[in-house]
Symmetry: C2
Subunit: 202 residues, 2 copies
DNA sequence: CGACTACTTGGCAGTGACTGCCAAACTGCT
DNA sequence: AGCAGTTTGGCAGTCACTGCCAAGTAGTCG
């Protein structure tokens, strides 16, 4: 399992990489379909593997856990968010910088419908939500230095403020997306996010 | 498994209730001890059951899941928080009301040392944290009407603001308790909470 | 006191997610 | 073609958790 030397053309170089790519996509599509059709908890790994045409063992090699089958490549999301935040001008405030990052990630979704379906599953399935929150929290910790630098915190005494700001941003994103899902995907998620932040920050 | 008809004296009426109480406490103590000694993931249900002197089956009847073995009676925490918020004067703002609830819950811990140990396990164990966050999110939803009433939201169009406020409060509590743990339990948690909220709300 | 009921317990088998291990199949390079 | 490195599938095993059933124990009524 080496790095995939992605060429600039978008087509991976070797057959292996192409096969991996296809298998991965097939598994992801099958999983999302089954989750949507019969629910997350009611879908077993065995079933996904069978319908995707791979062994369970291979499925677990591609995706380390069942929850990773939803939400596609989350690492990419986090990467984009962190990069975007880092790329904001130095004189931009934390809130603006983070807002830009959130916007960049939301723009990453394939389609509005697919995004809605993902969020719906995420918010309605306890077991999924748990894992998702956990993963996100880990990312929040990773984001910490980036935000701390922007806030100019003293390195000596531990300062909770950066953590609080990051956590609040995600809290607002949660509130916004939950309301969005409850509302059947009507309106713009980013508007809801702004509304949440306004409610919090006065 | 009926309601325990707790008498005013604090001593449960029947032998059954007393036995249940003792078994429950024994399990909880054993679990916390083992978790602390060897870590959450490294401790199996079988081991806890063995050392607590009950069968696995019985253990699962008392506590539905492994994560419930930490944090004792969380339902009580939530109950206290909700009650306290509800008991705040009508003219108190949402933020003050929620702050009072948070303070009430934090005051519930047996000892500072035990609270620190619980938080430490919670923040350092991924699998635990996941379940905890999930449970909390469910509680947040339960708190929603209480907060909405206090904010005077219109019933018609779904409004994300109440959710955002609640989520932000917990986000700050998270940031505060994580920093508290990182700092070895020095200082007052409530002060850190206030600092977080100040950083967020300007 | 004895019987009858209600509740609790423990064991057992089973499910489902997930991991380590090993042999077989396959790709890429010479 | 032939070797080396990579991927795959199957198998057995671990662990959390559940349903089921038989046996034990507490409470109650005659």
């Amino acid at each position: 399992m080496k790095q995939a030397p992605e060429t600039a053309t978008g087509t991976p170089a070797t057959l292996w990489d192409r096969t991996r790519q296809m298998a991965s996509q097939e598994i992801l599509d099958t999983a999302l379909r089954l989750f949507t059709e019969q629910g997350y908890d009611e879908t077993t790994i065995a079933q996904i593997a069978r319908e995707a045409g791979v062994s369970q063992r291979t499925l677990f090699r591609y995706f380390g856990a069942k929850e990773d089958l939803l939400g596609g490549d989350q690492d990419r999301f986090w990467q984009v968010l962190a990069d975007t935040v880092g790329a904001q001008p130095a004189d931009a405030g934390v809130w603006e910088a983070l807002r830009a990052g959130v916007a960049a990630v939301l723009a990453l979704h394939d389609s509005r419908a697919q995004a809605l379906e993902r969020f719906r599953l995420l918010h309605n399935t306890a077991s999924l939500r748990a894992g998702w929150l956990e993963k996100r929290l880990r990312f929040q910790e990773g984001l910490l230095p980036l935000v701390e630098a922007r806030m100019g915190v003293a390195a000596g005494r531990p300062d909770p403020r950066a953590r609080a700001v990051i956590a609040t941003v995600f809290a607002c994103l949660d509130a916004a997306s939950m309301t969005w899902v409850d509302n059947g995907g009507k309106g713009d998620l980013m508007d809801l996010y702004d509304e949440c932040l306004a409610a919090v920050r006065g």
